[in-house]
Symmetry: C2
């Protein structure tokens, strides 16, 4: 039941293991336990499938971060909340995270609507701008700060994924790393 979901799950697993073009649609259908035609019923082309999978993951991740990162009283606490939430999501969804990474670093990311991306980023940028106005963080271009934060998140995630740590230690490391990041951008 819910074959669309099964297809997406199978596609995720295989794309991460074999790459986009390395995975034939027939194998995806097989892995999903679904006929070949059914796949094309839900996703008219392979590109549609890849893009559909990306948006599905993106939506689920954004939902998680929004739920778990409620705005706190201070600017720093709000930022930390978001930082922690996205990192924990990535750790709990390694395959999804790996897919996202692969997608962003492939020519497929060109299929994305640039306007759409900016719209999604706007709240975050607004928050950073406010932090600058209030002289809490350094007056750097917001997209620059954003790039630094996200690559930082990505790096830490890679480190945590390639080493196996206890949950406690992991939490400690994430928290400490946020402090490093904060030192980097806070106004002195």
């Amino acid at each position: 039941m819910d074959k669309r979901k099964k297809i997406l799950e199978a596609a995720l697993k295989l794309f991460v293991a074999l790459g986009f073009h390395g995975t034939p649609t027939s194998k995806i259908a097989q892995e999903a336990g679904v006929a070949n035609g059914t796949l094309f019923h839900y996703f008219p082309t392979k590109d549609d499938l890849i893009l559909g999978l990306y948006t599905d993951i993106k939506i689920r991740m954004t939902a998680f971060v929004n739920e778990n990162a409620k705005p706190e009283d201070t600017f720093k606490a709000t930022m930390k909340g978001q930082y922690l939430a996205s990192l924990y999501w990535a750790l709990d969804h390694k395959t999804e995270f790996s897919f996202k990474q692969q997608f962003h670093n492939s020519p497929f990311h060109l299929l994305l609507n640039q306007e759409e991306i900016e719209k999604q980023l706007k709240p975050h940028f607004d928050m950073l701008r406010k932090g600058i106005e209030d002289k809490i963080i350094k007056p750097l271009p917001v997209d620059y700060i954003h790039t630094l934060i996200s690559s930082h998140t990505f790096g830490l995630n890679q480190y945590l994924t390639s080493n196996e740590f206890s949950t406690v230690k992991q939490h400690q490391l994430i928290s400490d790393t946020f402090e490093l990041l904060w030192d980097m951008i806070k106004e002195n």
Copy 2:
């Protein structure tokens, strides 16, 4: 002349534009102005070609960084030299950098020899360990520091690539960013 080189150049260009499996060997041969069979004369399989291209780029990059980042008197200056060199290389070789990124984030990176990688990283790790011993930088795991630095480099590069800055401004930004990074890891 030097068909091998022509093949590598064509492969680089097409892989970045179309993805690994999105690029047929026939198109690579055509773009290189070389017969189909010639490609397979130099690279018995497509995987060999991808791996060959990766090592070729890696070698050229390492050579550049080693030349341009001579050990300076202070620890910080040495580190800054390396940081600048790799960033300038990336900016001067955008396509190569993009390929490297795509390669690392694809299942192909599994073809790499893990031992080999560690051997290449050793000098860098040794340097960081010395910095810790001498109480110049914070006593964090060296592979952790390394991950933070490289993701940082990657992020900055992405930022510089997606915005067009003047050379002067670019240099300024790179230098400033190193200071941010340095503040993050230096012992207080």
